[in-house]
């Protein structure tokens, strides 16, 4: 993780809309999500990276619905998803993504 920009809007106690932008070796990754009671909802990842197979990115976003927004658990979950769907994302590791997604 080379650079990081973050913004969040508090909606109610324990409910935040977050945006994070991180420059990884594989490209710029933007996250928009809702964090409610420390869990991720409606995660949306975009950026100028490569992700194979491409449709697996939406699958990953869905897979993360309701996941605890905590780096260690997220990394394991993303790694499992990468393995199950044979994801290849040059310069973007599950650990990188977990850092972006963790609160």
């Amino acid at each position: 993780v080379r650079a990081r920009r973050a913004r969040q809007v508090k909606i109610a106690e324990g409910v935040y809309v977050v945006e994070r932008v991180v420059k990884l070796t594989g490209g710029l990754v933007r996250l928009a999500a809702v964090v409610r009671d420390d869990r991720l909802h409606d995660a949306y990842l975009s950026g100028d990276f490569f992700f194979y197979p491409a449709e697996a990115l939406v699958g990953l976003e869905n897979d993360l619905e309701g996941a605890p927004a905590e780096a260690v658990g997220l990394q394991a979950r993303i790694q499992a998803y990468f393995n199950a769907h044979r994801v290849e994302a040059p310069g973007i590791s599950p650990a990188d993504l977990a850092q972006v997604l963790a609160a």
Partner: protein, 243 residues
């Protein structure tokens, strides 16, 4: 394997043909130039975050989202596109994307060298001359095919590229412009003159022949058409829908 040397085609066709080949599961190489400029967005990019949509609309510059990752680029007739489409199951193509890039881009590097330029492949997907990018490339899996699309930058409109990218303020835009000039070069800049496109195409075809064991020239049939008359209105960027 089929090769389509299409010359100059409509901007939308310059993206449509390789997507179509891939979805039809037909291997081939397409060489073409788009007749008019447009902006091409990477598959995973958020258009509103990356591109000055209002500017595109004002200028009548179309926007296309390709099914290939990477970043937003400004494309026009001063770029020669090569679009390789291969069947995913063909054992000739390595499983790793990095090796696939290396394999497909070797003939591109050779072509630049034959023009007298000290070109080199820079992983993952750049080709450099004198430390500057002279060719942009992206790979994807579309349908049952693997695709590699890229271009020779014969000349480049640095001003327009800096205009179409979304930036926080105008000072930042100047920085983008300067950085583009410092890090992106063109055949014209390196050779002092625009290269002959036909020669460039011929060299690339000869150099890439060994990838596939020979090219077979194909034309678009009449049913495939080249007129583009039925395409949607290109300037109709629906900002109301996007926002």
């Amino acid at each position: 394997v089929d090769v389509y040397e299409l010359g100059t085609v409509g901007w939308l066709e310059s993206q449509a043909y390789y997507h179509a080949l891939a979805y039809l599961g037909r291997s081939g190489l397409i060489l073409l130039q788009p007749a008019s400029p447009y902006v091409c967005l990477g598959y995973h990019q958020d258009a509103r975050q990356e591109v000055e949509l209002e500017y595109l609309q004002q200028q009548g510059i179309p926007l296309f989202r390709r099914e290939v990752g990477g970043g937003a680029v400004y494309l026009d007739c001063n770029q020669l596109f090569y679009q390789f489409v291969f069947n995913k199951d063909d054992p000739r193509w390595p499983a790793s994307k990095l090796a696939f890039y290396e394999q497909c881009l070797a003939p591109v590097v050779d072509t630049l060298r034959q023009l007298g330029l000290a070109a080199s492949f820079k992983p993952v997907n750049d080709i450099l001359v004198g430390g500057r990018k002279i060719s942009g490339n992206g790979a994807a899996e579309i349908g049952d095919c693997v695709v590699l699309v890229g271009n020779f930058l014969m000349d480049f409109n640095y001003d327009q590229m800096a205009r179409v990218l979304r930036v926080p303020d105008e000072k930042f835009r100047d920085k983008v412009h300067k950085t583009l000039e410092e890090n992106l070069t063109t055949l014209k800049r390196e050779l002092g003159t625009l290269p002959d496109v036909r020669r460039l195409s011929a060299l690339l075809l000869a150099n890439s022949e060994s990838l596939v064991g020979g090219w077979e020239r194909r034309d678009l049939s009449r049913t495939q058409g080249q007129s583009g008359g039925d395409w949607p209105e290109p300037y109709d960027i629906r900002l109301d829908v996007l926002q």
